[in-house]
Amino acid sequence: MLPAWIIVIGVFIGAMIWTFVISMTNSRLIPIYKFNFFDQYVRLMGNDGWLVSVGNLVVFGVLFIVVCLVLGFLMAIMMDQKIRAESLFRTIFLYPYAMSFVVTGLVWQWVLNPTFGIQATVRGWGFDNFVFDWIVRPDRAIFVLVLAAVWQGSGLVMAILLAGLRGVDEDLWKATKVDGIAKWRVYTSIILPIIAPMAATATVLLSVSVVKAYDLVVALTGGGPGNATEVPAKFVMENLFERQNVALANAGAIMMLAAVVIIATPIYYARRIMAQKAAG
């Protein structure tokens, strides 16, 4: 148990406190313990780079989560129709999840490359005015990020929700058939509430990966064009290792932590309340 204790106390709790402490100082490269309390947080709120990053993350996060859930749910329902080659489809939908974000980013960078990629191909088919240059357009690049992330993550949502669908009592389906309820009605009003806990799990997973988003951005767009796809994690890393703004970076990290807490806590409690209700 000793190693676990050391890691739990020394690393997880200790490092978190240390990071918080440094965020209250004016440290640049090495820690200086002269406290100015929340100055760094005030600076952060006035820092354009940070604000843009947060704004980008919100747009990216909301779109990514919504699209992933909708697409994942649709795929799960379709997979649940006693189809042929189910395991083949499952394999295809899930393989991107096995790959590194770096790989995902680089592949989509290439596919969406305006000079060679989809835009060029469609133009080659004779549609000379076809435009699909989101990756180089500051007002569209964030959607490219969403596209690549959905490609990687929606299979996971599908797998989680499909497991939930498979757990639904067969007799329930028989009952709705006897009652003559349309299938889509059954899915929306009966099945969806049953698998809500799985959907909540998937949402937590996706949210956490949104806040952590770093690799994908670095590989796919490098934060550009301009700062159109900058994200907080990247902001923290740059201030930590390139701009020697350690205190500011740690303040950013603490804000990321706060974001996770704000997202995860209500979902956690919602699930507990649901579980308690189910238990009676």
Partner: protein, 287 residues
């Protein structure tokens, strides 16, 4: 008759949806492979979707041992072996530590077990950025920063929450009487772990190996920060090759290097099949 027709149309719709989705999911993989098999002339002269006319592995060999990052041109092979050196011990150690801790929490229930478990569960959700700076400071103090030992340690530490969670839940599913019987039979902490629990653990061990090896292989952040220039894992090297080249980009080589990097987790994924899905369910807390 009308009802049957309706059913057929519905079936058709289902398959149409699935096939279109499958095409969307497979497209990047196809483009990646096709591009890597072309020469640069062919890349420039054809659509990314075009089938390679004269497939060649030239780009693959270049990517493997000659692609450049900055001034060094040794290909991704260096990263491949670095990644192996990082992945194998990290996977082994994090699983061992996770299994022992999960076993202890589940059966021996030492004082404070609840606290440890709670912290580990929460830690699985915390953004790594919160831990990075203190870890860099501490590791450089003890001389492990930018070393193989350091990066392995980091992987073991951050693998612990999910591993403990998985093993604890698995052991909690075993009958407690089994543990009691072994204790009455004279087994101590390690006797019971190695002779009874470990032999009962292959299902969860397989899942853990799949989960940890792919996660560690796919890691970018820790490799970038902690591995140092001598131990850069394949993902970091790949990103450097593709995103920092000066002059004209060799897209075919880039794609070949990308495939090579994706190959190990892909093989693990395809070989493990349903186990991978179970791993996702078990390790669902990891983001």
């Amino acid at each position: 008759m009308a009802q049957r027709a309706e059913k057929t149309i519905a079936r058709f719709g289902v398959y149409a949806f699935l096939i279109i989705m499958a095409a969307f999911f497979l497209m990047p993989l196809y483009v990646m492979v096709a591009t890597s098999l072309k020469t640069m002339d062919e890349v420039r002269g054809s659509s990314i979707f075009a089938i390679p006319m004269r497939p060649t592995l030239e780009a693959w060999t270049t990517a493997w041992n000659a692609a450049c990052t900055g001034l060094t041109c040794a290909g991704v092979s260096v990263g491949f072996f670095n990644s192996l050196k990082i992945m194998i011990p990290s996977t082994f150690l994090s699983i061992l530590l996770g299994a022992v801790t999960g076993y202890a929490l589940s059966f021996w229930r030492p004082k404070g077990a609840g606290v440890i478990f709670a912290v580990l569960v929460v830690a699985a959700f915390i953004p790594y950025q919160v831990f990075i700076y203190p870890l860099v400071r501490v590791l450089s103090q003890v001389g492990l920063y930018n070393s193989l030992g350091g990066i392995i340690m980091v992987h073991v530490i951050f693998g612990l929450p999910v591993m403990v969670l998985m093993f604890r839940n698995y052991y909690a599913g075993l009958p407690r009487d089994l543990f009691s019987a072994a204790r009455v039979d004279g087994g101590g902490f390690w006797d019971i772990f190695f002779r009874l629990m470990l032999p009962l653990s292959p299902p969860i061990l397989i899942v853990a190996v799949i989960l940890q090896s792919t996660h560690i292989w796919n890691d970018f952040l820790f490799g970038l920060v902690f591995a140092g220039s001598d131990n850069r894992p394949m993902t970091v090297l790949l990103n450097n090759i593709v995103n920092t080249t000066q002059g004209e980009k060799a897209y075919n080589v880039d794609m070949a290097a990308t495939i090579l990097t994706a190959l190990v987790p892909l093989v693990i994924y395809l070989a493990s099949g349903r186990w991978f899905v179970r791993g996702i369910a078990a390790g669902a807390v990891k983001g």
